[in-house]
Chain length 250, copies 2
DNA sequence: CCGGATCATAACGTATACAATAGGGAGTCG
DNA sequence: CGACTCCCTATTGTATACGTTATGATCCGG
């Protein structure tokens, strides 16, 4: 019973520091910090899909009671990052093939359509900011720091969506990017990250030039190439769970 | 001070029956029923924007403790249906002008794009189902039962999105429709409901004929006409809150 | 008579305690 | 020797209790 659980525990206890472990309880701000910590850990693949998230363990790690942990867990469940099984507890969501397809279709639809608005509204400061984010992502990739690279990549896409001015759609994109990270964790190749080439840098230049249509088509190719790089074999009726169980840390 | 609050209390206690008040607690299924009840009440405008949702009152009404109510309230807050002020409690969200614009832009983008998929995948049974929903909406409108009409209208749009086969985007549309109901409650005219004409029925026939592009453009006109019917005066820097406070039940 | 400060109350935020349930292990029977 | 059953434990679901804080009223001073 220790093998599968150990994975989650080890990954979790690997970084058991909370932002403010002080005795003060200013409000529910601390809960939001815990939410960000867990969410980031999931996006960075430090918590892999299928990892169990026991309330007691999380409460102990973050120094709060189960009450706050439950709130965070339910919020993550609403965003489809964790799956809540009625009496079994929470675990990091393992996206199905259909879910993966839905998420990428949604990203294709929303993110491409947003490019035109972004191209119209983008400022020079935004361009500088995006260039910096793309640069840091490339630097992380060069250093083989895949965790940081994944986080920067997701942040880039979210930042881009925020520049559209539509906060509602930006929120959707944020969720979709987080779920995409889960999908990459399950169906992506080990050494092959999603955005390897200099796609993001090229995208920034297109937007800086005000070429909204060009950015949209580029984003379409970009997302499709990521989706195409996934190892999605249509085998829903076989025994996919067993394959994962026998190769837990693959 | 009592005028604005009284509205919420009265509307709430107007219907204090829960789906299953039995002594049995099978799981968190009861919580989901409470969530649906509150969500439906908000969508049907029985809980108007700005109405305060006190935890104790809700707990008393539904016969559960504050714990479950808190979960429901936080879930509704995640969907932007209620607003949680740190130490002030929960209240039905009063969408701002910018939020309204974002929501309708998002609907325009997503729902129109979904029409093509729907036209390809729709079956005869789906057509019959949609026709029935549109018919019931028209019947409710004819009887001047605006609450039921609003609910049926939102259900129609959600059902349509579900037929696209993309559950992720369908979930987004569901959220957007709920928020649209809030927007209509704030910025819509009293007697003028959103989908008055036989737009939905026409839409069904276009989809039944497999005309995805036609349905998309029709949906575009449909949503734009709803948005155009709103009384959105661009006065963000004025004192919009005061105007609403002085005309609570307008 | 008006403005400000203090205090009381009411509501939320958090923690703790109790109860229910599902899963696993050991024991036993066929 | 294998499979089934029963019990035990671990973990979540729910409720209650306590602390904190913001709001509103009252009282005092100017």
């Amino acid at each position: 019973m220790s093998s599968s659980r150990q994975t989650a525990e080890t990954t979790l206890s690997d970084r058991q520091q909370v932002t403010s472990p002080g005795p003060k309880k200013p409000g529910d701000k601390g809960l939001d910090a815990i939410y960000r910590a867990v969410s980031e850990a999931i996006v960075e693949h430090r918590l892999k899909p299928g990892a169990r998230l026991r309330e007691d363990a999380l409460a102990d790690v973050f120094g709060v009671s189960r009450t706050g942990i439950r709130k965070v867990l339910h919020r993550l469940a609403l965003e489809q990052l964790v799956t809540l099984t009625p009496r079994r507890g929470a675990s990091v969501t393992r996206p199905s093939v259909d879910e993966a397809k839905d998420v990428f279709d949604a990203r294709l639809l929303v993110e491409c359509a947003l490019m035109e608005s972004v191209a119209e509204r983008i400022t020079e400061a935004d361009v500088q900011d995006l260039r910096e984010m793309a640069r840091r992502e490339q630097e992380a990739l060069r250093k083989r720091e895949q965790r940081a690279a994944i986080k920067f990549s997701a942040s880039f896409h979210v930042r881009l969506a925020e520049l559209s001015g539509n906060n509602t759609l930006a929120g959707f994109v944020s969720q979709l990017c987080s779920r995409s990270s889960l999908i990459l964790a399950v169906y992506g190749h080990a050494g092959h990250l999603g955005c390897e080439c200099h796609d993001h840098e090229s995208l920034v230049e297109l937007l800086a030039a005000g070429d909204g249509k060009g950015a949209a088509s580029f984003m379409e190719r970009h997302l499709k190439s990521i989706e195409a790089s996934l190892s999605i074999f249509e085998e829903p009726e076989e025994t996919p769970d067993l394959r994962d169980i026998f190769a837990v840390n693959a």
